[in-house]
Structures are given as structure tokens and as C-alpha cells.
Symmetry: C2
Subunit: 364 residues, 2 copies
């Protein structure tokens, strides 16, 4: 079975495809996307994913179909999302002879997708690009066209909006995902349930997906979570307003991730972010005591952390102040509003964050 | 007098404004462009232009109008169009507290416009930007949204399309332009005449603008040249086809500029490019002997070089092969077609370039 979710934004129109065996079909899929045989295909992956053979699988399929294809592999981890690594890739593309007709395929998780997408957005003022996510987390980052790299000062400070030609989510690739990675990805799935799919949330409450389920279940899970995101980015491609709701858990989450020096993975940091933001929402009576308890429990039942680590609150606040979501004297937060909804709150104060942080550290 | 030329592309709509005293009106112009008072204005200039006071003039006007404003100055010259310099500017913007509501103003020539525009296109996934060109050459580069930086391997290999909010061409700034810079800019004015304004070409044949004429004449000259470019970018924002005609003189010109290690300025290199490409056009009977003579003479009468320097042809060919305009086994060139028109020719061979290069080196 293959699920096609169509994404139509103001500037682009593409399919988010979920299924088994997609990567080995790459050679047939490219011509369907209008990629002609004289286009050079430039695959970007990381060393971990490369060893698992997914990038090679695509390369082989693409070559058999008659395309020139080059594969570049970067070290795994967020450290590769840098301008320096982007420059290395530009040079490899020049060496390979990639022209404006070329296509970049990102094979890996969010880091590879963001980096390769940024390179595609800026190489010779932009070439086409395809997302081939190999992690659950990347079901989220591969939709919506946000690409970029980090500066030492913070995450995603440099980037672009560059919509992919397609997203190929081959569920076979998820089978090799370490448990911790899977669970990190579930934080975004839960987030999508909280934002706009109450039934998905309730389903996960009943039977948590602690580890990779079988293919057809994965396909359904991803399709539902992805649909929430697609509905939102279709209405607001460039994050002017509505799209902000997707930041649930991320305002605090990004800060936690950064202050932990990425010891916590993105999903774990988001889980802590959701927890702290739920406490703010509870104080502001946007969620009931019962809803608060359900949110904490669903995260715990997916093996995700719900207590902030022993960082000083000040280090978090400092990072919040650099964060682009801070637009004035108070902060704008996206807070849970019951289950299956969110509310944008513009006047979250230092005191609000402090109280929520302390409650989250003490209670469960 | 102030001339407003309206530019309307598929994704943007803005004014190219030409006049005297524009920079000191910046404080009034920003609100008219919808820039609110909480937007941080980040001016990028280079040390040469900075010493002439233009950036300061804008900063003062903007501050008097109640905006926060920071000025950053980079070393003059093409060397500043680098990823490293872009990174320095990102960090200065973070230090200054520029958020997504901020506006970058590029005050200077093409290098500053391309660099600052690239930084604006990618800082926090894109902030608004205004071009305030201070050179004649930049009448060309400030229209059309092409921004970018160089890699060591070649010019403009990294970039984006990012349309400005406005272009402010203050003709007062041109008065301080060194003669050599003015004449370099005239190469692009002549190019625009050759592409689409025969009357402009004939006017310059009659009375060459060897040095900066008085303000009203400059205004007319720039308005006519800019109009040719605007008409073309309006129809083809992303250089898919039609916009290619603007590359007249640039295929050979870029290679010459690069092989000269930028000893030749851009306009001088373009003049040599126009000359060599005119020889190709003459061999292909696209221009008559008389038209060829007129093109060579108009360049000479503007103090521009028409003979290729003593580089080896091979160094030029090598650079052409890296150039993004080379899309297959032969090269695609834009060639003059009579006066006031061009033709895109897809099958220009090595032999064609060699013959033209040799003729241009020998004859005048």
C-alpha cells in the first residue's frame, strides 16, 4: 500500500508519499516528477544512514534509470548543519558537474533534510530537491519547505523556504531506527495530535507506539500526523501567523535542546517543551487538571522525558531571548488549548515561564 | 524631479525610484513601504562608500524618524562577497537584535547589494530588504532580485532570488563616482540599449556619457536603461528563459573578469565580453559589418576596453565550462542581433569562440 498526501501551498504543489519500497522505485519516480535524464542527481546523506544502505539503494535505482548520480555523505549529528558543511557540499556539487537542472535528494533525518534543502535552495540560486526521510521525526521536518543551518549562536538562524519536489517516506527505513530515535519522533506525532487530531491523541493514549509497529500501522500513524501539518502549511507557507501553531513545545524545547548541548535529542527536548508549556497553559486555565495529566501521561507512556533537566532557568531565558519567536517585551507562546487545539498567547511573562519550569521540575 | 519605475514580478511588486536627495528622505519612505516603527533597520555598506557619508545619511534620516538602526561596513571589493562575510553579518544582526520584522538596506555598489541581499534572503529564513545603489553599475544589479555570494571556484555560485521592497537610486551619490567606475557602469547601460532600446544606443553614439552628466540627464539615462531590464525581469523572474537575454556580454565577460583576478572591473569585462560576442554574431551574420563597427566604436567612445587581454584562451574556456550558463555539449550564448535586439544561440562551439577571441585580439 502507498499513501499519497497532496500538499498545495501558494508557491508549490507536491506529494508526500508514504509506503514500503519507495526508495528502490526512485528511478521510475523521477521522470514522473518531470526530471529529465540530463539532470544530475546529487544525493546527500549522513554516515550512519549511509551505512544502512538507503542512499545506495536510491543511487542504484536512479543510475539504472539512466541518470548521472553522485552521493555525498556528511558526519551524523546537528554539527553538520553549518555554513561550512554547506560550502563543502557546494564544492562537491561543482566537482560533480551539477547544473541548475540538477536535483538534490536528502536521504536521512532532519539534519540532512535541512542542510541538503538549504544547499539546494542556494546552489546557483536554487535547484530542485526531494526529501527522502529515514526517521520518524523527519515526517515533520520534511513537510513545509523550511530548510536551514545553525550558527554557533543558535539553531536555524540561517535558512530559506524551499519547497521539495516530493517527499518519499519509505517506511522500510524506519525498521532500523534505534528505539530512542523512534520515541523522539513520537513527540512530534503526539504534538500533531495535540494541535489538530484529537482522535490520533486518543488512539495513542490507548495503545502507545513505544517501538516501531508494523508497516501498515506506521503508514497510518504518519499519514495522520503529517495531515495535521499539511493542513496548516497549506494555509500559511511562510510562517506569518497560523503556521506558528506548529511551534507547540518548541519555544521551550529549542532552548532546552540547545542548553543541553544536544545531549537531549530534538523529540526529547520537545517533550519537555510540551510539558513546560502545558504547565503555563494549566496556570492560564487553557487546559484542565485532567487534560494536563493526560498530556503528561501520554509523553511518559512513550518513554519521553517530562521533567526539565537541572539547568538554571536563566540559561533557558537567555536562549529564549535570542529565539526568533520573541517579538517584543513579552514572549509569544503557542499553548495547548484542551486536547486537539492550541492557542497563541502573546503575553507570556518571565514569571509565567519561571512558575511553569519550577512546577515541571518538582511534580509529575 | 523623481522618477518612479514600477516593477511587478510573479512574486513581488516594488518601485525603482531615481532622483536627487532620496537618501535623506529614507525616514519618510520606510513607513510608506509598510515598515513599522518596531522594525530594526540594518544598513550594510562598504568602507569606501561609508567614508563618503551615504550610509550615515540614511542612518540619520531613519533614526530621526524613530527607528532603531545599526550600520555594518565591510571591506570594499568582490572579496567581501563570501559566505564568511555573510556569517559575520548574521552575527552582527543577532547582536543588534534584528528580528524577522527587520529590514536590511544595502548602501553601495553591486557587491554590497548582492551580499546584503543574500544575507537578507537567508537571515532567519528571510527578512525584507531595500537596495540603495551608489554606483551606475548597480542600476542593473539592483533590479531583479538576484542576490548571492561567490565561492573560490566562481562568482555567484551561491545565492537566491529575493526581491527588494524598493530600490532607491539617489543620483547625488553618483557625483562622487570615480571616472573608471562610471564608465564601467556605462557598459551595462550600452548593453541595455543593445538588448532593447535602439534609441538609447543611438543617443549615446551621438553624445557619449564619458563622465557623470548633470542630475536630470543621469536620471533619464538610468530610467531608460533600467526600463529595459524591468520589462524583462517582469516576464521572467527566475531566469528560466527570456531573462537569459540580459546575459549579453556576460558569458565571456564573467570568464574574463575571473581570469583577470578582478583587475578588470565588471563593466570593463562586460565590454570585452560584448566585443567577443559581437565577433561571434558577426561570423554568424547576426550583425552586419557596419553594426559590428558601431558596437565597437560606442564602447571605445565610452573609454571601455574592446580587446581581450593576453590571457590564454584555454583559461577562458575552462571558466566557461564551470559557468552555470553551459547546459550541454555546446554553449548557449546571447548574441547581438542587429542593434536593439538579441538572439539566443544554443550551438556556439569551441571553434566559434576561438575565432572570435582571435579576431578581437588582433583587429579593432
Amino acid at each position: 500500500m502507498t499513501t499519497h498526501l497532496h500538499v498545495k501551498t501558494a508557491t508549490a504543489s507536491y506529494d508526500f508519499v508514504i509506503g514500503s519500497g519507495l526508495f528502490s522505485e526512485a528511478g521510475h519516480r523521477l521522470p514522473e516528477l518531470g526530471v529529465q535524464k540530463d539532470a544530475h542527481i546529487f544525493i546527500v546523506t549522513d554516515d550512519t544512514v549511509n551505512q544502512l544502505g538507503y542512499a545506495e539503494q536510491i543511487r542504484q535505482a536512479v543510475r539504472e534509470a539512466g541518470y548521472d548520480c553522485t552521493l555525498a555523505s556528511v558526519p551524523p549529528g546537528d554539527g553538520s548543519k553549518s555554513l561550512e558543511m554547506a560550502e563543502e557540499l557546494y564544492l562537491e556539487m561543482l566537482d560533480a558537474g551539477v547544473r541548475r537542472s540538477g536535483v538534490v535528494i536528502a536521504v536521512g533525518g532532519g539534519v540532512v533534510g535541512d542542510l541538503a534543502g538549504f544547499v539546494a535552495a542556494t546552489y546557483q540560486r536554487g535547484v530542485r530537491f526531494i526529501q527522502a526521510p529515514t526517521t520518524l521525526l523527519a515526517h515533520d521536518s520534511s513537510i513545509g519547505g523550511k530548510v536551514g543551518v545553525n550558527l554557533k549562536r543558535g539553531k536555524n538562524l540561517v535558512g530559506a523556504f524551499h519547497q521539495p519536489l516530493a517527499v518519499w517516506m519509505d517506511v522500510d527505513a524506519l525498521k532500523s531506527l534505534p528505539k530512542r530515535e523512534w520515541r523522539g519522533g513520537m513527540a512530534e506525532v503526539i504534538k500533531h495530535g495535540m494541535i489538530g487530531d484529537k482522535a490520533l491523541f486518543e488512539r495513542l493514549e490507548k495503545s502507545p507506539a513505544l517501538d516501531v509497529p508494523d508497516s501498515s500501522q506506521v503508514e497510518t500513524l504518519i499519514a495522520r500526523a503529517a495531515s495535521v501539518k499539511i493542513r496548516i502549511v497549506e494555509q500559511d507557507e511562510r510562517e506569518s501567523n497560523l503556521r506558528m501553531v506548529l511551534n507547540l513545545g518548541h519555544t521551550v524545547g529549542h532552548a532546552v535542546e540547545q542548553v543541553s548541548h544536544y545531549e537531549l535529542n530534538h523529540g526529547e527536548a520537545v517533550a519537555i517543551g510540551i510539558r513546560v508549556e502545558t504547565e503555563i497553559a494549566h496556570e492560564k486555565r487553557l487546559v484542565t487538571a485532567e487534560e494536563r495529566r493526560r498530556i503528561i501521561r501520554i509523553l511518559e507512556r512513550h518513554g519521553l522525558p517530562v521533567k526539565p533537566p537541572a539547568f538554571s532557568l536563566e540559561s533557558i531565558i537567555e536562549t529564549l531571548n535570542y529565539d526568533k519567536k520573541h517579538t517584543g517585551k513579552s514572549w509569544t507562546f503557542v499553548l495547548p488549548n484542551a486536547i486537539g487545539g492550541v492557542k497563541i498567547v502573546h503575553d507570556v511573562t518571565y514569571e509565567d515561564v519561571k512558575r511553569a519550569w519550577e512546577i515541571a521540575q518538582k511534580e509529575t
